[in-house]
Symmetry: C2
Subunit: 338 residues, 2 copies
C-alpha cells in the first residue's frame, strides 16, 4: 500500500498515545522511525513499533519517563533516560551537544539507561547538518562471540560515523553492526528455512555453522575477524563501562529472557571541523568532496547512497510504499491500545 | 645477539645524531623505537631507523624541525610538526592533551605535517597510564582499494585504541592497520617467493590474487569488506581532510616515487572516564577488569597480550634479542653518518 509520511506519522503517534506513551516519546520515536521508513531502512522503520509495545508489555520501557541531565561539565553532557527511549534523551541532548562541540571543538554526549531501537545514522545526520563530524555507538544484547571463543560476550554493537559534505542531504555516513550479520538476518533465515552465509555464526560447540537454529543456540561472529572483534569490544568499554552503563551481557540479563529491546547507554562524540580548519573551513567541502567523488568514479559504493536515493524518490513522489501486512499489524496494534 | 635497552638507546641516539637529527628528534624517535623493540613489535622497532635515514636522504623529513603549537582553543590542540617526526610533535603535545582531557572530559590533539613511522599504541599507552581512554589514527600511502573498486584510494590507515585497566602495564589496547594485511607482509612474501593468503589483494585488473608481485602492481584490500573499507575511509577524512592535512594519495604523491615514509597528520582523541563516572570512577577498573577477564576465561585472546608478555620477559631478563644482521645494518648506518 501507499501512505504519506504525514499519515504514517499520525498512525505512529496514535499507536504510541494509545499505549500510554508521553507526548515527548510519541514525538521522538515517531520522528526517528518515520525518518528511517522514508529512507527504506526497513529494519529501523515503523516495524519497530511492534517491538517497542512488546517491550512495554514486559515492563522493560517506561512510556512516560522524562530524561534528566545528570551532568554538564567541560565538554561532556550526560543524560539519564530513566528507562525511556534513547530517542527522547537524544531530542534533549543533541542541541546541547552541538553547542558544546562548537564551543570546545569536540564534545561527548553520554545517554544512560535508555531503551535502544533506532538507527545510529539518524542522530549522526542531525550532527552533519549542523556542520559537525560525529561518531556514535551502543552495545546491544550479548549474541556475539569474540574472535577465538564461543562465549557470547559481545552485542551486535553498531557504530555510526558522519562527515559533512557540501550537499547537506548526502553526507558521508556509515552505520553498521560490528557483528558479521544482523540478528534479524539470522531470524529471517530461520523463518524461511534457508542456510546462513559462511562465516557469520558458530554452533554451541564453537564450530562454524550455516544452520540458523544452531547459530541461535551458539553465537554470532563479528565482522573482520580479530580486528572487528576488537572494535566490538571497544563499543562495550566506551558505551558501557566508561559511562557506568550496561554491557550487552548485562542488558541481556536485564531482559530476563523476554524478547525485549536492548537497554543501556549510547555515546556520541561530535567534532567541529571549523575549529580544526580555521580560515580553511571550506576545504572540508572542497577537498572532502573531491576525495570522495573519486570513490564513485572508481566504482566503489559510498555507504548510505541507497538510503539517500530512496529518500529523494519517496520525498518527490510524496508517499511511502508500506507492506500491507505491516500496515495491518500496525492497525491491530492501535486497536489493542485503544 | 643480546643487547641491553640502554645500549640500544645509545646506538639509536648515535645513529640519529650522526645523521644530523636534533636532540629532541634523537630522544623522541629513540624512545618510541626502543619501546617497540622491548615489546618485540619488530615492524615498529629500531629497524625503522633504516627507513628514517632513507627518508632523510630523499629530503622527505626535516631532521632539525621543531614542532610548533598552531592552535590551542577549547578542547583542541593543533601542532605543526614542520616535516619532522610525529614522535617529536607527540612529545610536545601529549602532556597538553592530557591536561585538556582532564579539564574538559574529552580533548583532541591534531598533529600536522609529520613523518609517520611509529606504532600508534605507544601514545595510546601513555594516555592510559594517565587514566585516559584514547583513540588515534593516521593515513599512510595509498596502496589499498576501497571495497568494490580497484583504485588505491586508501592507505593502510591504522587505528589505535586504549582503555585503562587496574594493572597500568596491561591496558586494553589495540592498534591495527585497516588493510587486510600489512604492506610489509606483501613485500616479505615477494622476497620469499611465497603466495599471499586469500582475500588480501587484487591485481591491476581488480581480480583477486595471491601473487605478491601482481598485488604490488594492483592494490591491497581492507579488512572486513565494506565495513572495514568504510572505517579506512573515516581515517582519511578525520586524520586527513578534517585537519587540513594530506590523504594517503597526497602523501604518496609527495613521496614522488621515492620509498619514503608517509607524511601527513595524526589525530588523537582522549577521554577522561573520571569525569564520566564521577564518584563511581573505580567502576572503570572493577567492572572493566571483570568484563575483560571473561575474554581470557573464554579463550578469546585480548589484543596486545603477546606484546605485554614480551615486555615483561625482556625487562626481567635485562636485555633484548636483536637480529645479528639488523645490528650490522645499524652499525653500518652509524658509520655512514659519521
Amino acid at each position: 500500500m501507499q501512505i504519506t509520511a504525514s499519515d504514517l506519522r499520525q498512525l505512529s503517534h496514535d499507536i504510541l498515545a494509545a499505549h500510554g506513551f508521553s507526548p515527548e516519546h510519541q514525538h521522538s520515536i515517531t520522528d526517528t522511525l518515520v525518518t528511517a521508513q522514508i529512507d527504506e531502512c526497513h529494519s529501523h522503520g515503523v516495524w519497530r513499533l511492534l517491538g517497542i509495545i512488546d517491550t512495554l508489555k514486559h515492563g522493560k520501557i517506561d512510556a512516560t519517563a522524562s530524561p534528566v541531565i545528570t551532568q554538564e561539565q567541560g565538554a561532556i553532557i550526560s543524560i539519564d533516560a530513566k528507562l525511556g527511549a534513547a530517542t527522547t534523551a537524544l531530542a534533549l541532548g543533541l542541541p546541547k551537544l552541538i553547542d558544546k562541540a562548537k564551543h570546545s571543538g569536540i564534545a561527548l554526549l553520554a545517554i544512560n539507561h535508555c531503551v535502544h531501537f533506532s538507527a545510529l545514522w539518524v542522530e549522526v545526520e542531525q550532527l552533519t547538518r549542523a556542520g559537525l563530524i560525529a561518531i556514535n555507538m551502543t552495545p546491544s544484547h550479548a549474541w556475539v562471540a569474540p574472535s577465538g571463543s564461543r562465549e557470547p560476550l559481545l552485542g551486535t554493537n553498531p557504530i555510526g560515523f558522519g562527515f559533512p559534505r557540501r550537499n547537506p542531504d548526502e553526507p558521508y555516513v556509515f552505520d553498521f553492526a560490528t557483528s558479521a550479520t544482523a540478528r534479524g538476518e539470522i531470524q529471517l533465515h530461520d523463518r524461511n528455512g534457508t542456510p546462513l552465509p559462511e562465516g557469520v555464526a558458530i554452533d554451541a560447540n564453537g564450530q562454524p555453522t550455516t544452520d540458523p537454529k544452531a547459530a541461535m543456540a551458539g553465537a554470532m561472529l563479528t565482522f573482520g575477524g580479530h580486528k572487528g572483534s576488537a572494535i566490538a569490544t571497544m563499543v562495550e568499554l566506551l558505551a558501557g563501562i566508561a559511562i557506568g552503563d550496561m554491557t550487552s551481557q548485562e542488558s541481556m540479563a536485564f531482559a530476563e529472557g523476554t524478547p525485549t529491546l536492548p537497554y543501556g547507554g549510547e555515546i556520541i562524540i561530535a567534532i567541529d571541523p571549523a575549529m580544526l580548519l580555521g580560515a580553511d573551513t571550506d576545504s572540508l567541502y572542497t577537498r572532502g568532496d573531491a576525495y570522495l567523488n573519486q570513490f564513485n568514479a572508481a566504482g566503489a559504493r559510498l555507504p548510505s547512497q541507497r538510503r539517500f536515493k530512496a529518500r529523494q524518490h519517496n520525498t518527490t513522489q510524496g508517499f511511502i510504499e508500506l507492506d500491507d501486512s505491516l500496515y495491518q499489524d500496525l492497525q491491530a496494534l492501535l486497536q489493542a491500545g485503544l
